[in-house]
Amino acid sequence: MGSLFRSETMCLAQLFLQSGTAYECLSALGEKGLVQFRDLNQNVSSFQRKFVGEVKRCEELERILAYLVQEITRADIPLPEGDASPPAPPLKQVLEMQEQLQKLEVELREVTKNKEKLRKNLLELIEYTHMLRVTRTFVKRNVEFEPTYEEFPALENDSLLDYSSMQRLGAKLGFVSGLISQGKVEAFEKMLWRVCKGYTILTYAELDEPLEDPETGEVIKWYVFLISFWGEQIGYKVKKICDCYHCHIYPYPNTAEERREIQEGLNTRIQDLYTVLHKTEDYLRQVLCKAAESVYSRVIQVKKMKAIYHMLNMCSFDVTNKCLIAEVWCPEADLHALRCALEEGSRESGATIPSFMNIIPTKETPPTLIRTNKFTEGFQNIVDAYGVGSYREVNPALFTIVTFPFLFAVMFGDFGHGFVMFLFALLLVLNENHPRLSQSQEIMRMFFNGRYILLLMGLFSVYTGLIYNDCFSKSVNLFGSGWNVSAMYGAAHAPSERKKMVLWNDSVVRHNRVLQLDPSIPGVFRGPYPLGIDPIWNLATNRLTFLNSFKMKMSVILGIIHMTFGVILGIFNHLHFRKKFNIYLVSIPELLFMLCIFGHLIFMIVYKWLLYSAETSRVAPSILIEFINMFLFPTSETNGLYPGQEHVQRLLLVVTALSVPVLFLGKPLFLLWLHNGRSCFGVSRSGYTLVRKDSEEEVSLLGSQDIEEGNHQMEDGCREVTCEEFNFGEILMTQVIHSIEYCLGCISNTASYLRLWALSLAHAQLSDVLWAMLMRVGLRVDTTYGVLLLLPVIALFAVLTIFILLIMEGLSAFLHAIRLHWIDIKNSCGGTQGMFRRPKVPNDKNKSN
């Protein structure tokens, strides 16, 4: 059964790392991903740990790298994602790398700063030109539409505001102009009016093209405004308000010539700036391109380095301060590789004293490690979704590989659909090395990760489809039906026999809409169809009744078998953990409870199938009634399935009733008895265990799975296990809850397995409906147009088949299969505990956890 049946045996190892070589050793270990570290400094706060300085340095490097990546992506330079994962950098290179990165950062920051400055400058100039352009129309309008501007009679119809005429008046007319972002205009106008009490004129117009905000870099709509005011005090206030609303203010030219001059000057400056900006950007791009080459591997390297220091922070120092002691969980099978990695690490760093390891016995429960390959991984994930088994527990994933696709197929049974699914999965499996697939997006990725599950599900569906004889809702007549219609006419029968039978003749066939074949007439039923269901049922009107009875019974049988199997897996666990009493006091009562009730039901179903034939079917008792009578003890006699059935049923009921109190009280009472000192039988047993546990090796192997057992040997004083006190009430409560759950679960879960029937029925009906609604319509049209019509009909049929029947129905069957496995897994698994975590897997994603 190998490693998938139980999780790997683990051992706790102590690594003695020479302080000079610790980094290299850990790097070598991390590349292999062999061990899980234990934190030996749990009560030391993070900043007081030994390698906090190095971690800080890594963080600094990370910060620089993040900055680089941000700049690179902003410049739209593709990041080359190297497939290879470079090892952590040797210590000697770290300093060099740091210097390089820092230099790069400084350079980059300077160039970007320059660029930003230029850009801002450019934007401002552009804004200025826009402002000049727009405000020119303001002034004209002012003049044209407000000719009776009382304060300034001199304005009349002059084409431009004449500044000198204003001075003549002795007043100083001032202008403030600039740009303001769209959202602030209203508030700005209000505030202006309130503060200046109307001594200003504000004109504004929306700028037709949105511009970038030089400060935030956002592209927004702007308004150009022009405030004309009179007097210095007000001007002062206006400027303050402009500041407050973050307006961009530009000097307002007073005369037309000035305006033109400014405009020309601006144009040339903008031209200049463009060229300079271009050059800067080119240079920046060059720098970034160069940085982009190595940045990806650098990021991984730094991450690895940081992970190494985090692990080193978990190590403790020995007294001489010369070597670090790490405690790790390691699978026993990998111990050799661990030693090799240590040697390699020591050799690389050229240390004089090699680092070495030492296995230490422990009573703690090791983490669970189940090695998977690409085939078993998907199934293991399904099981892990319900919880990770504790150390060395039976791993239900192994059986899930078969049961999961099988239960799915029972619900999905249709070999046409199954075959399509199989082909799709096969396509994925054959192209699994294709880079596009493994990097695909969410939904596709889900299919890709579950490709082997899909493959098996497809195959099993083909099988169940053959059994159901369903192919896109049609049956296939491969071997020739076992029913013969012509025999119903009865020409071949002897006249004496004819009287007893209801035979067909022309008038019967003509006048009856529904005709029934009678299997008891010789020659009509010629024995069962070799594989699955006879295709003639596809034509029968009572097909559903027949299939329902068959599928319902089948799902109950499968369900009981599956649940029983779960309990049996639990027995494997108890055997392995040497808790025999659990078998006698928990598992066997559980089995008895289930089998006495539902096992008997199965027996009745099978018995009835075998015993009654076409001739005797009319006297066959109903299983449902029989089953109900089993609990009700009816006064009136019924003719049972077999003689003495009543007594057998009573016996079974008594056994069921007896197993319940055992289930409820057995284990807690037994534990209590153990706790209060055993009888002479127990003493001899504890003596035996004492001898056994003297061997330290054994202790380490046993781990703490039998802590509970060890608990009762505390008085022997041979183990210093730290475990909680014996609490009878708690144990009783747990057991009672567990038992109630189990007993109720037996009944409700059996009902729950009926979903096998319900879903397979739904699937068959849905595909039937699809056929009837689409294909039949297409096939019934006469030949000339039929061909034309069939083409779109088939296309639609294919699309609907894929989306509704394959994907939607498949998904629902998948979910139901998952639900049914929960029962099985729950029955077999005990508690769940921590999973083995590979500390430094070379892949950058799952590092350090």
């Binding site: 963080e59 503060v195 407050c244 609303y245």
Partner: protein, 325 residues
């Protein structure tokens, strides 16, 4: 609230309440404080804060780290949390949030007015303003020369308008008047403020009558206690007034006598923290949002205190932070 409003509370505010409770669970624990106090440098402090809910909020800060950088970043973080709450809230909770910002806005306005008096540039003071109390018109505060100006031009559009409406006079704005204005505005945390005003007025030229006008006219002390407080001349007399009130008696008893003991302010802070923590014991009310903001503020004050002690190498008083229970 309407009758049976608890029934519908979760429809509108359940998400935010859950969120705020989650945030409250992320406040620093006693263990965190013990660790923080042990820090040798601000870098250590940063590393430890990284292991808490603060995460790497200082990651983008270039060296060297200063207390003010930590403070700004923490405020930014609180502010972003608050903004998130506010943006996802429905009426009337959103109005509640607006009211919560009012006290910060008042503080900012007062700060700006003081700054304008001392002829400091707006930019300089803007940095010091609390981000929760930011509003657009804020920077125009220094345009105003008289309080009525201030009100009519700047504050009328803000949520502060109804509060300022009643306490605007035509006085010239000087420092004392601003202080008086502030105290007139603060109508919340009334009792504490009354005590603090009294304490601060000892030894100043503030007359007893003037002092009485500053007291808020609500709270447990109103009106008897306030009259007595107005007559108090030293701390002992104040204490005697407080002894009439069951809530404040133990607080005044906890105050140390000048040398090394706790100050009255600290005691009040502790009491406030306790009340805020108690706010989380009941469900379906808006108080948790207020309480969370206040607790977070206290936590920030604690961190800043510890950081200051560390950076100034003044470790004797480092334990004077107020732990959040």
């Amino acid at each position: 609230m309407l009758e049976g409003a608890e029934l519908y509370f979760n429809v509108d505010h359940g998400y935010l309440e859950g969120l705020v409770r989650g945030c409250k669970a992320g406040l620093l624990t006693e263990r965190d404080y013990v660790n923080l106090v042990q820090c040798e440098t601000l870098e250590d402090l940063k590393i430890h804060l990284q292991t808490t809910d603060y995460g790497n909020f200082l990651a983008n800060q270039t060296n060297p780290l200063t207390v003010s950088k930590i403070d700004t970043e923490m405020r930014k973080k609180l502010c972003s949390e608050f903004e998130y709450f506010r943006n996802h809230s429905l009426e009337p909770l959103s109005t509640f949030f607006t009211y919560m910002t009012c006290s910060y806005m008042i503080d900012n306005v007062i700060l700006l007015m003081n700054g304008a008096l001392q002829k400091k540039s707006v930019k300089e003071i803007l940095v010091k303003c609390h981000p929760l109390g930011r509003f657009t018109e804020m920077e125009a505060v220094n345009i105003a020369e008289t309080p009525s100006d201030l009100f009519n031009a700047v504050l009328i559009e803000t949520p502060l308008a109804p509060f300022f409406q009643d306490c605007m006079s035509e006085n010239i704005l000087d420092e004392l008047n601003i202080e008086l204005l502030r105290n007139k505005l603060y109508k919340f945390e009334a009792d504490r403020r009354a005590f603090i005003i009294t304490l601060n007025s000892f030894g100043t030229e503030l007359s007893k009558e003037e002092r009485e006008t500053l007291f808020p006219t609500c709270g447990k002390l109103h009106p008897e206690g306030l009259r007595l407080l107005a007559q108090a001349e030293d701390f002992e007399q104040m204490k005697r007034v407080a002894e009439h009130y069951g809530v404040y008696k133990p607080l005044f008893e906890a105050v140390g006598d000048g040398s090394g003991g706790k100050t009255l302010e600290d005691v009040f802070y502790e009491h406030e923290v306790q009340m805020n923590v108690l706010a989380f014991n009941r469900q379906f009310h808006y108080g948790v949002f207020y309480a969370y903001t206040k607790l977070k503020e206290q936590e920030m004050r604690n961190i800043v205190w510890i950081a200051e002690c560390i950076s100034q190498r003044h470790r004797t008083k480092i334990n004077n932070y107020i732990p959040i229970l």
